[in-house]
């Protein structure tokens, strides 16, 4: 999906530039921590790397990462499973969509962070409250994107099938659902980050494991290196998930949409 026809950058050049940028950023951080600012405030990449090494090898960082990943991905998948059918319903039944819209947008505007204490009250401090947090962050976007995607379905395709007396279910399977695939992927791309945010917020407020808990726990002990270690893992996790989504998306859509 190129917005303008700019000359494509070779993939190798792109990757090298990305690595260079990363190295420059980490090096500046390290330099700042050594010469300008007390690492108590901004951490220090070398110390963080050392901490991550011990935490991954001897500690339970893999466990924390796994549980956060589980919360985020489960919430994301759940919001697809529930959000896509609701989006389809909204598109097929405009009356339902119009009726629900103001309330829907009301819920959408609520800062979901504010719901976290409620979710912990309702669903406990186990995984369910975190999954629900991730879900509540993503589901609205899935619904809105699905709805929007279906409104943009090519009329000619629908008319073509209608003129051939295609059944409703056939229409759904052949035209409506395939045509929202790019929209669903778009919501997944946005949703990956949001699902992580949701999971971590849940873990920050009440949990005994997960990266959110790890960050909160470290902060409680004024362990800045620990806080930054948790944040680094979260950032890397977000980047990795994004790459996975991109790979899946191009597998499904390349040359077709």
């Amino acid at each position: 999906m190129d917005i303008a026809a700019t000359s494509p950058v070779p993939i190798r050049t792109k990757v090298i530039a990305q690595i260079v940028l990363g190295v420059v950023m980490v090096a500046s951080w390290e330099a700042a921590a050594v010469w300008f600012i007390d690492p108590f405030w901004i951490g220090k990449p070398s110390a963080i790397a050392a901490r991550l090494w011990t935490e991954f090898v001897d500690g339970d960082m893999i466990g924390h990462t796994g549980i956060t990943l589980f919360h985020a991905v489960t919430g994301l998948v759940l919001s697809l499973v529930i959000g896509v059918p609701i989006g389809v319903l909204f598109a097929l039944r405009p009356f339902v969509a119009d009726t629900v819209e103001p309330y829907f947008l009301g819920f959408y505007s609520l800062p979901r962070v504010a719901l976290a204490p409620l979710f912990i009250l309702w669903f406990g401090i186990g995984s369910i409250s975190k999954i629900m947090m991730a879900f509540s962050m993503v589901v609205f976007i899935v619904i809105l994107n699905t709805h929007e995607g279906l409104r943009g379905v090519d009329r000619d395709l629908v008319d073509m099938l209608k003129s051939m007396r295609a059944k409703r279910l056939y229409m759904l399977r052949k035209v409506l659902l395939p045509s929202i695939v790019p929209w669903v992927f778009a919501s997944v791309r946005i949703g990956v980050g949001l699902a992580l945010v949701g999971a971590v917020i849940g873990e920050l407020l009440g949990a005994n494991r997960g990266l959110g808990w790890y960050v909160e726990h470290s902060a409680g002990r004024v362990d800045i290196i620990g806080v930054f270690s948790g944040l680094v893992v979260l950032a890397v996790l977000g980047m990795a998930l994004n790459e996975v989504v991109k790979a899946i998306e191009s597998r499904f859509t390349e040359g077709r949409y």
Partner: protein, 275 residues
């Protein structure tokens, strides 16, 4: 209004509001529009008193200025729209409503499905049993010169090839009436003529009823048995011409015939409203 028969050029011109007999009135009707009026929102009048009968195996073109409701007529015949007043009927071989198939200016292929799957849509809608699909698809691809391209996605094909696939899907559905809404309108001049040849070749063997909408007068004369000329909004049938050029036609050859030019001139004058 009088009906004049021009013996020299073998053309029949008639008053648009009367139903004029088709080239071969012995053939049964496959579609019939009687006293059809169409308006949107109860105000904007699109069509006014449209009457005509489409005969089996007839190639009928509708020409007229843009916005005259040509495409609306196709949508009425295909039952995508209902007329505000009047009757639109279609007749299949068994007397029930005809199966109609559409071809648009834009190919309307499923972009997420390869050529084979797109053609299979026609077969599936026609209820052709699954085990017969592969053979039928191969046959159609050969017919359209697309044998190598079954596994290609539409995006990888040229405009002309995509319209061939759309034609393949239409033939796969095997409708009683083929509705073509400027199917070659977006193609360059050469591709347009080449696809016209293809269409003629295929139509000559299948002899489906066709309603072909175009604003290209010469294309209409080359392809058709009969041409309906529409006036600008509200769309009315202004005149009707039978094209008695010999078949099979050489689409480029007929353009050199004097009859072709006479007819082209008359239709052009009708459209720009000159006498």
């Amino acid at each position: 209004m009088k009906i004049a028969i021009d013996m020299d050029s073998g053309l029949l011109t008639g008053d648009g509001s009367t139903i004029v007999a088709a080239a071969n009135p012995a053939e049964r009707a496959t579609a019939e529009l009687s006293r059809v009026h169409m308006s949107f929102d109860g105000r904007m009048e699109i069509l006014q008193d449209i009457n005509f009968v489409l005969r089996e195996g007839e190639f009928l073109s509708i020409v007229g200025p843009s916005g005259c409701g040509k495409s609306t007529i196709l949508r009425l015949i295909s039952n995508l729209l209902a007329p505000t007043r009047g009757d639109v009927k279609t007749f299949g071989p068994d007397g029930s409503a005809a199966h109609v198939g559409f071809m648009f200016q834009r190919d309307a292929l499923l972009p997420w499905a390869d050529v084979n799957t797109n053609i299979a849509v026609g077969l599936e809608c026609a209820g052709v049993p699954k085990e017969k699909h592969a053979a039928r698809i191969a046959e159609l691809l050969t017919l359209l010169g697309l044998s190598e391209f079954g596994g290609y996605y539409p995006r990888a094909l040229s405009g002309g090839m995509r319209q061939r696939v759309a034609l393949g899907r239409l033939l796969a559905y095997d409708p009683d009436v083929m509705l073509m809404d400027e199917p070659f309108g977006a193609l360059d001049a050469q591709t347009k003529i080449l696809l016209g040849y293809e269409l003629m070749r295929i139509w000559t063997t299948h002899r489906k009823s066709v309603v072909f909408v175009t604003h290209d007068i010469e294309e209409a004369i080359g392809l058709s048995d009969r041409i309906i000329v529409m006036s600008a909004r509200p769309g009315r049938i202004k005149s009707e011409y039978h094209v008695n050029l010999p078949r099979p036609r050489d689409l480029r050859g007929v353009r050199k015939m004097p009859e072709f030019h006479q007819l082209s001139e008359k239709i052009w004058n009708d459209i720009v409203d000159r006498v």
